[in-house]
Symmetry: C2
């Protein structure tokens, strides 16, 4: 057969292009730009939206192809890469790169088996996690996996294997201590900033609690966004490690560590699709915590009519799944079902939430009582992970630490260690108030709606934007009383938030017996 | 509450940008380009990859946002649109447009219900089809729908409703005749160009057969690509209609008509994902045919070890699903299970397949017997849709039409009517041969592998590229005999095809008893 003739060199030359950065930001989707008259484009029969592989110097990157008809963007002998793709490849502009059709990821075969109803094994999940980590999956392919693996699609053994594969897709920290505590809330409740209280209390007790968190994606503020009002949160892994060793705790952004990277990539698809399966939730949370080296994890699971989990039955099933996977992977998980009927604290948005937190730490008379109580109870349960703390004593220890000012002192040390924020963030200068349309008792505050108003007002990007709650569940109001005040920094945001609040202000006013009951542990 | 103050004008002005075409081809995915310093981008809190809606002059278009850091691509007061998106909006460059965050499509709620295992109703499928037609779905969202609706996900009532919704998503032709015939092959067999024989035979008999087909997407040649070697295939709906009325048949590209547009959009996601559920296959084929005004449809369903359908059991289940949906939508469907063990005819690729077809029509001594036999049998069954043709007589009528030269004459008329191709396409100038590695009998020819070799050689884009088969199933060969010859137009393609064929030539040589049996109707 006609193999091995010396034409390979010709092919190689034919396939080489000069690299050029294109100043277009395509976020998590790598895009390559090739001119329509480019010889390779013509010869390879690529199509716009084909996935191609760009190789040079033992580096490679995958990208979706866009075809360009303007030589000022890319010339016929150039290959353009969008900002993130260019950075990922890490070569200088003008480097010679070769280009070929990317093979579809091999593990899509596992996804197709899952779609047709088969069970997947650990090896299958490993293959999928590897291909996703290497950016071999398009958004479309990730969506196919997520839907195939959602709700009705994964049994608990599979959730376990998916979690394991996610952990092993990235780096893993080892703190070399017998007890590494962490806490996590499954989300959905605005203003629920207990981590910024639990961490200083627990660290002041001496227990290791290296808390990292994400920035808000769909909510008006994450722990990182709020902590950033007070201190730097984007710390190198090395610096983070030093701070935790010295302070016994931290409140940093987890984005710089490369823990369970598959999880971040799946979340970037899951969020816009609005699919939020319990399999994915459990695998995502536990993989991140195990990779971060935690040994004990307390999970705050709010239940309420506008929370993520709306019924006790659902909460209990989810708790069992957390326990099953956690136990098998050597992570002690304690799930606490909490009151998720309304936002926690008085503020929604980074500056307002930071104020709530600091008031609690300072034992200020205006400090929101609900945030204080919830944080003390969660901190108490974390403290009881310590074998020397008697069951039931945690709460009192936590309260002593808070009341004595030791928690505040610890917080100040952590802020100092992470780097106190130079800028003093202020509340947004534009504000409007929403009033009670009639007299009665506040019987409902819609978590989702309040979060959306705060986001439209500019949170979390504009740190001073947000919602100040002046009335909470069970409060009596007269018609015309102020229910809440919205702050914004920009006129357009102000207008959008006001229009949304005007359509539905998120509050329901009725009689005391209409307040929904919720059966929680505290 | 603070509604109705006169700030709306300010917001509107703030939200207006000058439209600018950006010479980037993003195929079926609309992309909008906005400069990072653009006031709207800043104020609205858009992110790269957000979906935005562009409005002006009662027109609107949805697009995915890319953020630009180079004013030569778009300025801070401009909104750029990729080529297709610009065309879709249909406004002049420089027009003022407003921009807002696109709401996620409402019908995603139906998709989420499907994901959690619920049955969908006709209204749900209508809502989904409407949103997809209006480009409200991203590729990711379409993937979510396709996976949720695949194999295990849709019962036959749901397939029926999906088909109905697809038909109603676009225009529908009415030929105003009692019998409008069509044929369709479910695909997967290279060289299977029976339509180009069935249409002239059936039209010569006087039966109406307005055959439109697609271009190849994953195969080395579709009917349109092959017919284009002989005649123009991109005809306006009006012209097509005139030709069919006069000739009783046509062989045109269906892309210009707006029949079941949802189907085309779903296929653009289904293909790269490689998910090919029977629900989707049935809905896709039947929706297109019903929209095209067919009353009788003959489906060619090849079965074989490397065909799309690999087992009889599977073929029979698929046939039942076609019959169920077709009957309920008033389309008479006849599914014929055929031999799909190897490519049909002697050539793979547009020029080679056109040569096979013309040789059969010309009763040429070199004409491939298998293509002739298969076409006559399929044409015979189509002719039997005519109530005046006795069951069993169709084959003989078809043979008379072919042998007498009437089919050839009809084909010439159709070519003339569509517009004879001015260019005379030649076989690619570069070629190599693959030889039998040992003596024996050809016991297998891998459909998939042969298609891939032909595609790498340049088919269907380079019409003269392809594979000439010199040996078929059951042929005896001596070691060194030529099995097939590959033609290419470009050196790079030649090299790629040769490398692939060198790794696995697609043929298996063994003994006569190893030829797989297949139980087909002929």
């Amino acid at each position: 057969m006609n193999n091995g003739e010396p034409t390979a060199v010709g092919v190689e030359r034919h396939k080489t292009l000069r690299l050029r950065p294109v100043a277009i930001d395509t976020y998590r989707e790598n895009v390559a730009y090739m001119h329509r008259e480019c010889a390779i484009y013509r010869a390879e029969g690529f199509q716009a939206l084909s996935k191609i592989e760009i190789n040079a110097d033992r580096r490679h990157v995958l990208a979706v192809l866009n075809v360009v008809d303007d030589v000022t963007i890319v010339g016929t002998d150039e290959l353009g890469l969008s900002e993130q793709a260019f950075e990922q490849l890490g070569l200088d502009a003008g480097s010679m790169v070769s280009v070929s059709q990317a093979e579809p990821p091999r593990s899509m075969e596992c996804v197709r088996r899952k779609i047709s109803g088969e069970r997947l094994e650990l090896d299958d999940f490993h293959a999928i996690a590897r291909d996703i980590t290497e950016s071999r999956y398009s958004k479309m392919e990730m969506a196919a996996f997520l839907v195939a693996a959602s709700e009705t699609g994964l049994d608990r053994e599979e959730v376990l294997n998916l979690t394991r594969a996610m952990v092993e897709s990235g780096e893993r920290l080892d703190w070399d201590e017998p007890l590494v505590a962490d806490k996590h809330c499954i989300g959905g409740i605005p203003g629920n900033r207990t981590s910024m209280l639990v961490v200083p209390i627990v660290a002041a007790h001496g227990m290791l609690i290296p808390k990292t968190s994400s920035r808000a994606i769909t909510s008006p503020a994450g722990t990182s966004d709020t902590m950033e009002v007070l201190a730097r949160v984007d710390l190198s892994p090395r610096r983070l490690h030093d701070i935790v060793r010295k302070q016994r705790g931290c409140l940093a952004w987890g984005g710089t560590a490369r823990l369970a990277p598959v999880d971040d990539m799946l979340i970037s698809v899951e969020r816009p699709l609005g699919i939020d399966s319990s399999s994915q939730l459990v695998a995502s949370i536990l993989a991140k915590k195990i990779a971060a080296g935690s040994t004990h994890l307390m999970i705050d699971m709010p239940v309420g009519p506008t929370a993520k989990v709306r019924h006790m039955r659902e909460a209990l099933a989810l708790r069992k799944l957390f326990e099953f996977v956690g136990d098998r992977l050597g992570l002690h998980v304690q799930v606490i079902i909490t009151d998720g009927r309304q936002p926690v604290g008085n503020g929604i948005g980074p500056v307002l939430e930071a104020r709530d937190v600091m008031q609690v730490l300072e034992n200020h008379p205006d400090a929101p009582a609900d945030l204080r109580q919830k944080a003390l109870r969660l901190a108490g349960r974390v403290l009881e992970f310590d074998p020397d703390v008697r069951g039931g004593d945690g709460f009192n220890i936590a309260r002593d630490i808070l009341d004595s000012g030791r928690a505040l002192a610890k917080m100040k040390n952590i802020i100092e260690a992470q780097g106190a924020q130079a800028e003093r963030y202020q509340l947004g200068g534009l504000s409007f108030e929403m009033n009670a349309p009639r007299s009665g008792v506040v019987t409902g505050i819609d978590n989702y709606r309040m979060a959306r108003i705060a986001r439209l007002a500019g949170a979390p990007l504009d740190k001073g934007a947000g919602v100040e709650l002046l009335r909470k569940l069970g409060d009596e109001v007269e018609a015309g009383d102020v229910l809440y005040r919205v702050h914004a920094e920009f006129q357009a945001d102000f207008d959008f938030a006001r229009a949304l609040a005007g359509r539905n202000n998120g509050y329901t006013i009725g009689s005391a017996d209409q307040i929904p009951k919720v059966f929680v542990e505290f």
